[in-house]
């Protein structure tokens, strides 16, 4: 097997890595091969050196497997870190809050709206924080880059809902300044962390898109909510279908992590990200078809995914060893 064949085999083993990662790994091994071919310590003539080098390199499949073990471990753990909370815990959280309130005899019923929503946001943020700690302990950047934006959005939702921001669309009486300061500091810290992670992983487009998607969807939801309120008498006719929004969302919550975290093929993983946007696309685009801003905000994530995926999956035909 010559150098080009070796590197081609190796690239097949790491084809699910980002293009940047693939290029760097291939370059590292190519430079190893080149140095060996020119090293007289391996033998007096090129054939001897090539044979010795081949023996030292070993199988490209073994090398690829070893590299995958380092750079892509724990696919099932990643999947479960996203799917289990999304499918089981988060939908049941309101029930948990009410049950705990009953058991501790906290009166959520009088002033239910404000008491319940007070607990609702905080419990979710606490839960997401636990998930983020798990992601850090498992060294899973791909799951952290899902839960971190989700936590940030929950804090923003809390600040908006409780009138804690200068722009107060709900008209609610603002909450205590001390707590507001706490949430603002938390928001700032988490946002800085997110930006730092995105910069660190800017060469892996899949991770960047994963982190940005919840933010884009949140903006679309916010604008659609504001649009609906402003329409006043005009009803937005949502499509009634059997599953409903909840059913659609749960199917997507099961499917998109399965397509994104489990397979090795990059094309399938991009499809997973597209599946993330499907509930919103299906549920919101038809009712808001007469409102171009809302429509475009829900279509924008899909266009972004398709564009970035197309660039990412473009196959290069350059030789890997020759220059």
């Amino acid at each position: 097997m010559n150098a080009e064949e070796y590197l081609t085999q190796l690239r097949l083993q790491i084809k699910d890595f980002s293009p940047q990662e693939q290029a760097e790994l291939i370059e590292e091994i190519a430079s190893h091969i080149e140095t060996g071919e020119n090293d007289p310590r391996l033998g007096p003539d090129p054939t001897d050196r090539a044979n010795r080098l081949q023996a030292e390199l070993g199988s490209p499949n073994d090398l690829g497997r070893g590299l995958r073990g380092v750079h892509r471990p724990n696919r099932w753990v990643d999947y479960l870190l996203v799917a289990i909370p999304s499918l089981l815990v988060i939908p049941l959280m309101p029930l948990v809050i009410v049950t705990v309130a009953k058991l501790t005899k906290i009166d959520l019923l009088s002033g239910m709206e404000s008491s319940f929503s007070w607990s609702y946001f905080r419990v979710y943020i606490a839960f997401y924080s636990v998930l983020m700690i798990l992601c850090v302990r498992k060294r899973s950047v791909s799951t952290l880059l899902y839960w971190l934006p989700t936590t940030i959005l929950s804090i923003v939702a809390l600040l908006l809902r409780e009138g804690r921001l200068p722009w107060n669309p709900t008209g609610v009486e603002p909450g205590a300044p001390l707590e507001t300061s706490f949430w603002l500091v938390a928001l700032l810290a988490l946002s800085i962390w997110l930006i730092k992670l995105l910069r660190q992983h800017r060469n892996e487009p899949m991770l960047v898109v994963l982190a940005v998607l919840p933010l884009l969807i949140a903006v679309a939801n916010l604008v659609s909510g504001i649009t609906e309120r402003r329409l006043q008498g005009e009803q937005i006719e949502y499509i009634n279908f059997t599953l409903g929004w909840f059913g659609l969302h749960q199917i997507a919550a099961f499917l998109w992590p399965a397509l994104f975290y489990l397979p090795r093929q990059r094309a399938v993983r991009w499809l997973g990200l597209l599946t993330f946007t499907l509930p919103y696309l299906i549920y919101y685009t038809w009712p808001f078809r007469a409102h171009p801003l809302v429509l475009s905000l829900y279509i924008l994530p899909v266009v972004m995914i398709i564009y970035v995926a197309a660039r990412d999956l473009r196959v290069t035909q350059k030789p890997l060893y020759g220059r």
């Binding site: 590292e28 091994i29 430079s31 140095t35 030292e56 090398l63 070893g66 590299l67 380092v70 750079h71």
Partner: protein, 119 residues
């Protein structure tokens, strides 16, 4: 995989750290230096060396940078970090104690085990 092979494989990070303690090197140079220092006893295939190096980099024991003049193929050069030096020092002490205890236990009465009576 024999037990000795497993032990040798498990000691790879420590061996790599000991080579890098002498100065930054790229993967090929690490392989050659290890072979030279051990007089051929320790050899590593690329399938063991590079995943180990990458894992050590993720663990903060080594760091890397690309080097190379324009128009030439770049080399990824690894250097030991302070955390790596600390791991090397503690690892050397652990292995020294392990080896001493192992030989003391294996040596026992000074006779090979199969000829010692089990009275």
């Amino acid at each position: 995989m024999s037990e000795l092979h497993q032990v040798r494989k498990g000691s790879s990070p420590l061996l790599i750290l000991s080579i890098l303690a002498d100065g930054p090197k790229h993967g090929y140079a690490i392989m050659r230096a290890l072979e030279a220092r051990s007089e051929g006893y320790f050899t590593m295939t690329a399938a063991l060396l590079y995943p180990t190096l990458h894992q050590m980099e993720q663990d903060g024991l080594v760091e890397s940078e690309w080097e190379g003049a324009e128009g030439t193929r770049r080399k990824k050069v690894y250097s030991i970090t302070p955390a790596g030096l600390e791991r090397l020092t503690s690892g050397q002490a652990e292995w020294k104690r392990f080896a001493e205890q192992l030989f003391r236990t294996l040596g026992g009465s000074g006779k090979p085990v199969e000829t010692r009576s089990l009275e």
